[in-house]
Symmetry: C2
Subunit: 376 residues, 2 copies
């Protein structure tokens, strides 16, 4: 067994667990910083490791396939060696990125043909090819190839798409089982629940996915524009069906509040570009609420960036200084904000874990959700 | 006396010295990384301090005056506190930036009227106002307000401009002596030699500047497009006149080869945007020659960035990885290249100092100049 459930919160469905992978054990709940093209944008690997300290990061198969390409990654001995990161990596399957290329892709039973966003060249992903690509990347956790439905989505489309995702899943599993890791270490495979915002489809999909008896299970197709309440409803319906003894990964979620609410529903793993992307636009997440550091009000606030913060940037730089860097369009501003936000997200999941283990998660979560909703 | 000459190289005019300032002692020869708007682009202050380790950095009065403005800097208690840098800072006077705004500035006896490159607003710098601005910034070393002549430059224009610079210098000195530091520590004042590429003007200017008996002296108006041989000729003519017991600062120079050649002529201090700007374009300086990391030849070279390098990036990242970051337009690439280049420049001046002190500078310099001229 790769996953061990250590504790469940008495006041919610939140769980603390341990997920063993070839590059190390992951303490859950966990947030995975997104390293799209073999780099968490603007963050040195040593800062990621020593300051932000996530147990695992995420890479995007679509982006890595285009650049540097899996031939280079194979020559390097896999993504870990290529980028100098020796902790676990999870790769998505490219499904989400390909789906986002609307107008530049065609979905068929066999797979998806698409045009590169870089040079317009033609490519095809199939359930088999994305397993191969993720073998070549050498991710510790490999994701199934799925279709991520948009929001809103007609019921009939959602139903047909879910069945396509299930058929693709069968092909992924077959190919995964018939293929071998390339670098001598075990890779884990996670299937993905779909079904848009339709509870009956979500339940049907969750049962199908649970039936594959995979090491871990993911929930896709959420955080695509639906109201938070619908997201929580779907996550809860799915979590209640997915096996207790396996980790649950909610893909692409979300705000700090989304993360706490979904932890309370039984989700164990998260990833999202929000802390990094919003950082580059000057938005800081803190335990007291959000800060738009570009606002003139911070111009002469020489207090530390976040006195409660957990990375060096929070103590070593002031709000006024960071505000100046954004005003002057200095890239160091984006670097500082990114480290701050990722540091905060990782603190949030670590603190959640600590609270789950000592039984105080629920009241703390309720309090935090209120606090973090403020704009400072 | 703020400057102590420790040793002069037997095989050249190279010198090793110590320059005392309010924020610490500077070992010369020194290279000053450029922190234009209160940030060395893409480099955290802790990386600058711990990895690159310069004794002093440079700030630009023109840029700091526009953003964040000296009111903010005054509220912060000066630039050191504002940006979180407790070692020495030198500021230029804004003369060079204002001169670069051709078509957007008007030079008169009183001073220079110019339009901001940011919003076109009208401003004026005078010899007195730039001293005040540098008092407000709180630089350890303050530069005189000068006119930097272009290359090529008519003899008559160069002569008239030199005299204007001298008259401005007198006003700067008067205002400097009549004003006080704002933050309780001593600020040093350096005048600037001008005279374009005309030896007689350079000598005349050097004598005028030497006559002011300043703590240190600068050479401006070089590295503006003239052939390296003319730069060396002017630097040598000026160094031979400037007092031996005062540090000599050659402004805006240059390539690693330029730096070694000018050290050999008796220059002690340098600054240049080249290591940082060229880094952002993928050009790396090494002791074996220059690397264009964007070249396809590095695509599968997984060896360390620079095995002889002196910062963490040189060992922790490979050439192939850095090449990928540039190909994918990931900002981390610029960050890595910047740290590498600054690390190399600082190594170059520290090694020069070591060689001057042990008497082996000249043959080492000759060898290095040959090596570094290669493209790898």
């Amino acid at each position: 067994m790769n996953f061990t459930l250590k504790h469940t919160d008495p006041g919610s469905k939140a769980r603390a667990g341990l997920l063993k992978t070839a590059h190390g054990t992951i303490e859950t709940p966990i947030f995975m910083p997104v390293g799209t093209v073999a780099s968490v944008k603007g963050v040195h690997q040593r800062e990621l490791r020593d300051e932000i300290d996530p147990d695992i990061i995420l890479g995007n198969t679509y982006h890595l396939y285009l650049r540097p390409g899996t031939e280079i990654l194979k020559s390097a001995g896999g993504l870990h060696k290529f980028m100098g990161w020796d902790r676990p990596i999870l790769t998505d399957s490219g499904g989400y990125q390909v789906y986002s290329l609307s107008g530049r892709r065609k979905i068929k039973e066999e797979g998806v043909k698409f045009k590169s966003h870089i040079d317009g060249s033609l490519h095809e992903f199939t359930p088999e090819s994305v397993v191969d690509l993720q073998r070549e990347i050498g991710a510790d956790i490999i994701m199934a190839f799925d279709e991520c439905t948009p929001y809103p989505c007609e019921y009939d489309y959602a139903r047909r798409s879910m069945h396509l995702t299930h058929r693709w899943l069968d092909r992924c599993i077959k190919h995964f089982e018939e293929s071998e890791p390339l670098y001598g270490y075990q890779q884990l495979f996670f299937p993905i629940v779909q079904g848009s915002v339709y509870t009956d489809l979500r339940k049907q999909s969750a049962e199908y996915i649970a039936g594959t008896d995979a090491v871990g299970n993911a929930i896709g197709g959420l955080s695509v524009g639906e109201p938070a309440e619908e997201m929580y409803e779907m996550a809860e319906a799915v979590c209640d069906i997915l096996p207790t003894g396996k980790p649950r990964y909610l893909m692409g979620v979300g705000t700090p509040i989304n993360i706490l609410e979904n932890i309370a529903l039984g989700v164990d793993m998260f990833d999202c570009v929000m802390p990094t992307r919003n950082a580059r636009n000057g938005m800081l997440f803190t335990s007291e609420g959000t800060i738009n550091i570009k606002n003139k009000k911070w111009e002469d606030d020489f207090s530390p960036l976040d006195p409660m913060g957990h990375t060096f940037v929070d103590q070593e730089y002031s709000k006024a200084y960071l505000r100046h860097l954004f005003a002057a369009n200095e890239y160091l501003g984006k670097q500082i904000a990114t480290i701050h936000n990722l540091g905060f997200y990782l603190w949030l999941v670590r603190e959640s874990r600590r609270r789950i283990l000592d039984g105080s998660f629920r009241p703390w979560k309720d309090q935090m959700v209120k606090q973090m909703d403020k704009r400072l």
